[in-house]
C-alpha cells in the first residue's frame, strides 16, 4: 500500500470517527435549532422588551419609565417592573391565580390518585371506564369555558336555577370572589382530572404485583397497602403530574377569559377573577394605549409570572420528595423493628 493510499484510509478513518461522534448531535439538532428560534430567542427578547419603553404600535422609545405611579419620569432598567408592582390589578391577579391554582390542583390530584386506584382494581369493562375518564380531555379548554360559563350564569344558569328550585339562594358566581374561583377551578378540574388519572394509572400498573402481594400476605389492608406501597412508588409520576399542573395552573387563561361572559372588564368588575395571564394579555395585546409602554409592561408581567412559577415548582418538588421519602423511611424503620 502506498503512502498516499494509507493517508486516505487514515483520513476516512478520522472522518468515520468524527461522523460517529457527531451524528447523534446532528439527530437532536433540529429540535434544538427550533427551540433556539421559537423558544430561547423570544425568551431573551422578552427580557430586552421588559426593560424598554415599548409600545405595540409605535415601537421602542428608550429605556423604561415608571411614570406617575412611582412619582418619577427617570429612565431605568426596572421601570416597567416598578410600574407593574405598583398596580393594584397586578396583585389582585396574583392572589386570584394562586387561589384558583390551589382550588384546582389540590383536589384534582387527590381525586386523580383515587380514580386511578379504583380503575386499577378489577373492574368489568375496564377500557370503557378508562376511556370515560379521559373523555372531558378531548374538549378544547375554551369550549369547556363556554359550556360552564352558561351553567354558571348568575340568573339563567343551570346551577342557580337548580339551587332555586330546591329553595336555596342562588350563588353570585361572577360577583363573589371565592365563588368565581370555585367555578373556574371546576372547569379546570372537569378537563384535567381524567387526564392525570390515566397517567397515574399507568404508573400504578408498572408497580410489580409481587410487592403488593407481599404486603397483603404480611396482613396489610387495602388502605395500608395503598399508603405504604403504592403511593411511595408513585413518587416520580406524582412529581411529574404536580409540576405539570403547577405550570398549567399558574398560566390559566382560556377558562377565565370565557368565564367572563359579556362585556365589562375581563376578570370581573372588581377583578374577582382576573388572573396574571389575563392581565398580561389585556396589557400587551388588548390595550395599545399610545404613549405607554404597554408591551414592555406585559413583558415584565411575563417575567414576574415566570419567577413565581419557578418558585412554586421548586417548593412543590421538594415537598413531594420529602413526603414520599418520609413514607419510605417510615417503612424502613418498621422493617428494622420487625427484625
Amino acid at each position: 500500500m502506498s503512502e498516499k493510499q494509507q493517508a486516505s484510509v487514515a483520513s476516512s478513518g478520522r472522518f468515520a470517527v468524527f461522523s460517529y461522534k457527531a451524528t447523534p448531535y446532528l439527530y437532536v439538532a433540529p429540535f434544538f435549532i427550533l427551540f433556539l428560534v421559537v423558544g430561547l430567542f423570544p425568551l431573551l427578547f422578552t427580557v430586552w422588551v421588559a426593560m424598554r419603553n415599548y409600545n405595540t404600535i409605535t415601537g421602542d422609545s428608550g429605556w423604561a419609565v415608571c411614570g406617575a405611579v412611582c412619582g418619577t419620569r427617570d429612565q431605568s432598567l426596572v421601570g416597567n417592573f416598578q410600574w407593574v408592582l405598583h398596580q393594584r390589578d397586578f396583585w389582585m391577579a396574583m392572589r386570584n391565580t394562586v387561589s384558583i391554582f390551589l382550588l384546582s390542583s389540590v383536589p384534582q390530584i387527590i381525586a386523580a390518585v383515587f380514580i386511578a386506584w379504583v380503575l386499577n382494581a378489577n373492574l368489568k369493562a375496564k377500557t370503557f371506564w378508562r376511556m370515560g375518564v379521559l373523555l372531558p380531555y378531548v374538549i378544547a379548554p375554551s369550549a369547556c369555558g363556554i359550556i360552564f360559563s352558561q351553567i354558571f350564569s348568575d340568573k339563567s344558569g343551570a346551577f342557580n336555577v337548580l339551587l332555586q328550585t330546591i329553595g336555596l339562594a342562588p350563588i353570585a358566581w361572577h360577583a363573589d370572589t371565592l365563588a368565581s374561583h370555585i367555578a373556574i377551578a371546576t372547569i379546570v378540574n372537569f378537563r384535567w382530572t381524567g387526564y392525570n388519572s390515566l397517567i397515574l394509572l399507568a404508573a400504578m400498573q408498572a408497580i410489580p404485583t409481587d410487592l403488593i402481594e407481599a404486603a397483603v400476605v404480611d396482613g396489610a389492608g387495602k388502605a395500608r397497602t395503598f399508603f405504604s406501597v403504592t403511593l411511595p412508588l408513585l413518587k416520580p409520576t406524582l412529581i411529574f403530574v404536580i409540576l405539570n399542573s403547577t405550570i398549567g395552573g399558574l398560566q390559566i387563561f382560556d377558562e377565565v377569559q370565557m368565564f367572563n361572559n359579556g362585556t365589562g372588564a375581563a376578570g370581573g368588575a372588581n377583578n374577582q377573577f382576573l388572573t396574571v395571564s389575563l392581565y398580561l394579555y389585556n396589557l400587551g395585546f388588548n390595550k395599545v394605549t399610545i404613549g405607554e409602554s404597554n408591551i414592555g409592561r406585559a413583558a415584565a408581567v411575563a417575567w414576574l409570572l415566570f419567577l413565581v412559577i419557578v418558585l412554586v415548582a421548586v417548593v412543590n418538588f421538594s415537598i413531594t420528595r420529602k413526603l414520599a421519602d418520609a413514607e419510605t423511611r417510615g417503612k424502613k424503620r418498621m422493617q428494622k423493628k420487625a427484625q
Binding site: T56, I57, T58, G59, G67, A68, V69, H86, Q87, R88, D89, A140, S142, A143, G145, I146, S149, Q150, S153, D154, K155, S156, G157, A172, H174, A175, D176, M258, N261, G262, T263, G264, A265, G268, A269, N270, Q272, F285, N286, K287, V288, T289, I290, G291, E292
Partner: protein, 436 residues
C-alpha cells in the same frame, strides 16, 4: 360597532374553522392567483353585511358583485368574531409591516392609536370623490395632516326600543307615536326617562333597563368632552361624569343587572320578566331579533331619544396600510364599498345604517320597514335619529382605558351589587389615578 364587540366564542371557533378551510381552498401566490387575478385581502369583524347572507349574519353579497364587475380581482375576506380579536391582528400586522391584509375595518375605539401613526395609512381622498359622508364621519377618518385615511361605512344612530307587551301590562301606551310623546318627543330628557322608569318599576316590580352601563354608553357620547378634555386633561373624576354617575346609580333599582352580551342578557329578550326598554343603535336590531327569536312580536321602536343631542354608538371605517402591494386596487374597492349605493344595499340586507346622507335618502333605505319590530319604519326612524347627531366626543389615547374602568364602576353597583355607589366611585377615582 363598539357595543357588538363580544359575540359568542362559538363564533370564534366556527370562524377559525372556516378561516382554516378557506386557507386550504385558495391557491394564491402572493397577491396574484394562479390565473393572474389580483388578490385583495380584507379583514372585517362581527357583521359588515358584505358577505353572502346567512341566517345568523345577513349580508348583501357585495364581494361577489364586485368580482363580477371586475373580473381581474379576487377578494379574500376574513371576518373576525369580535373587534377585539380583529384589533390584535391589526396591531401585529401594522407594527411588523407584515401586510396580512390590504384592507382593515377599524372601530372607533382604534382611532387614537391609528392617528399616532397616520402616515402608515393610505390617503383615500382621490379615490372617494363620489362618496358622501357627514362632517363628523370625515373628521374622525382624517389624520392630523389632513389626509383621509378612513372611509366611513355605517353609523350607529340610536333610538328607543321597547317591549310593547310589557308596556301594555304596565298601562303605558304601546303605539310608537304615543310612546314618542310619552318620553317627551323632541324635548326628551334623561330625567323624564328615569321618571317613567321609576313609575314602571314601582307598578310592575320588573326591571326597566338592561344595565346601567348600556344607558351610560348612550348618555356619555352626547357630550363633547367625556373623560378627557380637548387639551388632553383627564376630567373623568370631575363633576360632569360624577353627576352622570350619581344620576345613574340613583336609578340602579330600574336595572335588570344583566351585563350586555352575557347569557343572562341574551335570555332576557323574550322573557315576560325581561327589561322593558333598550337604547338601540340601528345595528343592534339584529341582536334583538337574534335573542328574542324572529317570530317574537313584543319589540317595537320609537323615534325618540333622551338627551340634548343625538347619540351615535358605533360605526366603522375602512383603512388601507401604505405598505399594501395592491393599495390602488384596494382603494378602488374601499371607495366602492363605502359609496351611497352599496351602503343602502347593506342596510336593506342587514341593519347597518348608512353613514351617507345620500344613501339615507334613497327610497330603499327611507321606506324600509321591519316586520320584527311590528312594521316600524326603521329607515325613517334611524334617519331622523342620525340627523340629530352633530358630533362624537373628543377621544384620545386614554379615553377607552378610563371607559372600561367607568363601566366596571357601574357594574360593581349594578350587576354584581358588591359595593355602594360611594365605595365604587372611590375605587374608580383610584383606578383612574393608577392608569397614568
Amino acid at each position: 360597532m363598539k357595543k357588538a364587540m363580544k359575540l359568542g366564542a362559538i363564533a370564534v371557533t366556527a370562524s377559525m374553522i372556516f378561516a382554516g378551510l378557506s386557507a386550504c381552498g385558495s391557491s394564491t401566490q402572493g397577491n396574484k392567483t394562479a390565473d393572474g387575478k389580483t388578490v385583495i385581502k380584507i379583514q372585517t369583524f362581527n357583521n359588515f353585511g358584505y358577505e353572502k347572507s346567512t341566517a345568523a349574519k345577513p349580508g348583501a353579497d357585495l364581494f361577489a358583485e364586485y368580482e363580477k364587475l371586475h373580473p381581474n380581482i379576487k377578494i379574500e375576506s376574513t371576518v373576525a368574531s369580535s373587534s377585539d380579536e380583529a384589533r390584535t391582528a391589526f396591531n401585529s400586522s401594522i407594527s411588523t409591516g407584515s401586510n396580512s391584509y390590504d384592507i382593515f375595518a377599524v372601530d372607533i375605539a382604534w382611532w387614537p392609536s391609528i392617528r399616532a401613526i397616520g402616515n402608515k395609512f393610505m390617503d383615500l381622498k382621490d379615490y372617494t370623490k363620489n362618496n358622501n359622508w357627514p362632517d363628523w364621519v370625515v373628521k374622525t377618518g382624517t389624520d392630523d395632516s389632513g389626509r383621509l385615511i378612513g372611509a366611513g361605512t355605517d353609523i350607529g344612530p340610536t333610538a328607543l326600543c321597547y317591549r310593547q307587551d310589557l308596556f301594555e301590562q304596565a298601562g303605558l301606551p304601546t303605539d310608537r307615536e304615543q310612546v314618542k310623546e310619552l318620553f317627551g318627543g323632541e324635548n326628551a330628557t334623561w330625567d323624564k326617562f328615569f321618571e317613567i322608569g321609576q313609575r314602571y318599576t314601582q307598578k310592575t316590580g320588573k326591571p326597566f333597563i338592561d344595565n346601567l352601563g348600556d344607558v351610560a354608553a348612550a348618555m356619555k357620547v352626547q357630550k363633547e368632552e367625556v373623560y378627557v378634555s380637548k387639551d388632553d386633561k383627564v376630567i373623568a373624576t370631575e363633576d360632569g361624569i360624577h353627576d352622570m354617575y350619581n344620576l345613574l346609580t340613583k336609578n340602579a333599582n330600574l336595572s335588570a343587572g344583566v351585563s350586555t352580551w352575557s347569557d343572562d342578557w341574551n335570555a332576557s329578550f323574550n322573557s315576560p320578566n325581561g327589561f322593558a326598554v333598550l337604547t338601540c343603535p340601528a345595528w343592534e336590531v339584529n341582536n334583538v331579533k337574534g335573542n328574542a327569536g324572529a317570530d317574537f312580536r313584543g319589540w317595537n321602536v320609537a323615534d325618540v331619544f333622551p338627551g340634548e343631542a343625538g347619540t351615535d354608538q358605533g360605526g366603522s371605517w375602512l383603512t388601507i396600510p401604505e405598505s399594501s402591494p395592491v393599495k390602488e386596487e384596494a382603494a378602488k374597492l374601499v371607495a366602492w364599498l363605502t359609496n351611497p349605493e352599496q351602503q343602502s344595499k347593506v342596510f336593506v340586507a342587514a341593519s347597518n345604517f348608512p353613514s351617507s346622507p345620500k344613501a339615507q335618502a334613497t327610497p330603499e333605505v327611507a321606506d324600509k320597514t321591519d316586520d320584527f319590530l311590528n312594521n316600524a319604519p326603521t329607515g325613517k326612524i334611524f334617519a331622523n335619529r342620525a340627523e340629530t347627531i352633530k358630533h362624537i366626543p373628543y377621544i384620545n389615547a386614554k379615553y377607552y382605558d378610563i371607559d372600561s374602568k367607568f363601566g366596571a364602576a357601574l357594574d360593581r353597583v349594578d350587576c354584581t351589587k358588591e359595593q355602594t355607589p360611594e365605595e365604587s366611585w372611590k375605587q374608580f377615582v383610584e383606578d383612574v389615578k393608577a392608569l397614568s
